[in-house]
């Protein structure tokens, strides 16, 4: 019985070593397709002749789950388009950009959002 027990332990040990090697080699991320904000030189109140309209907000997010997959479009373009919405404004003015981060249980679920708050130029100023 003793040698049999030893034989049973080998596949288990092999699986453990294989699992550890895979974990070390892959280092977590299997597939990622994300967009992160890089730079945005937004319009100033002077671009709207000082005529600022209502405030709008927009958000765009990236998400990662189980340390394996990351996806989303958390860039400036998506956030600004979300803020522009149906306002019809050709551009936004006085744009404030913030990032919001959520991390649950050591990163099993992570979400990072780019939030923009801006003013819409009034029609006369927006031409």
């Amino acid at each position: 019985m003793v040698p049999k027990r030893g034989k049973e332990a080998h596949p288990m040990l092999r699986s453990f070593i294989t699992g550890a090697a895979l974990a070390a080699l892959l280092t977590g991320c299997l597939y990622a397709d994300v967009r992160a904000p890089l730079s945005y030189g937004s319009a100033t109140p002077g671009d709207a002749g000082g005529n600022l309209g209502r405030e709008v907000t927009g958000s765009a997010c990236n998400t990662a789950v189980l340390w394996l997959f990351a996806f989303g479009n958390g860039g400036y373009d998506a956030a600004v388009r979300d803020a522009q919405g149906n306002s019809g404004a050709p551009f936004l003015v006085d744009v404030k950009a913030d990032t919001a981060y959520t991390n649950v249980v050591f990163g099993i679920y992570q979400r990072q959002c780019t939030n923009v708050t801006a003013r819409v130029p009034v029609a006369s100023a927006a031409r």
Binding site: R35, N62, D77
Partner: protein, 154 residues
């Protein structure tokens, strides 16, 4: 006399705590196991504002310019996707042997955006970094510039 060793230990611990200050911070991103790297990356771009586009008409049209670089590395080097990811990646105890090439600078991305726009001035430029990574071995980083187009009145 009996407390002296403790004081020495406390002094050594304090020195150990401040030792990190002796390491200069480098603004240059250095990969410690780079086999070959020939890349051009974004650094700074002060894009035109709407007032810079005058006297033109805002068309509402959008232009897109994309420029990419590709990196292949093994053992896998995960991409920095979120705030703080860099510190986790830097803690990986083994180096990743990498080969990188491509031009993802603002200059080439804006040139392509202008080509897409035809004749016109670009303003209100939003730049994003699009990262695609497969198994953390192959990584493609693209700078994407979205801009509004203004044209001279006919």
């Amino acid at each position: 006399m009996t407390r002296r060793p403790e004081r020495v230990l406390a002094l050594l611990a304090s020195l150990a705590g401040t030792w990190g200050c002796a390491t200069p911070q480098s603004p240059v991103h250095v990969l410690d196991a780079t086999v070959f790297d020939h890349t051009q990356e974004d650094m700074q771009y002060r894009s035109p504002l709407p007032k810079d586009a005058q006297p033109t008409v805002l068309t509402g049209q959008q232009a897109l310019g994309v420029a990419c670089s590709t990196t292949v590395g093994f053992p896998p080097l995960p991409p920095a996707l979120f705030l703080g990811s860099e510190s986790v990646i830097n803690a990986i105890p083994w180096p990743s042997f990498t080969i990188g090439a491509g031009n993802r600078g603002y200059a080439i991305a804006m040139q392509r955006a202008y080509e897409a726009a035809g004749t016109g001035t670009l303003f209100d430029v939003r730049a994003d970094l699009h990262t695609t990574s497969v198994l953390s071995i192959v990584r493609r980083d693209c700078i994407e510039v979205h801009a509004s187009v203004a044209r001279k009145p006919q």
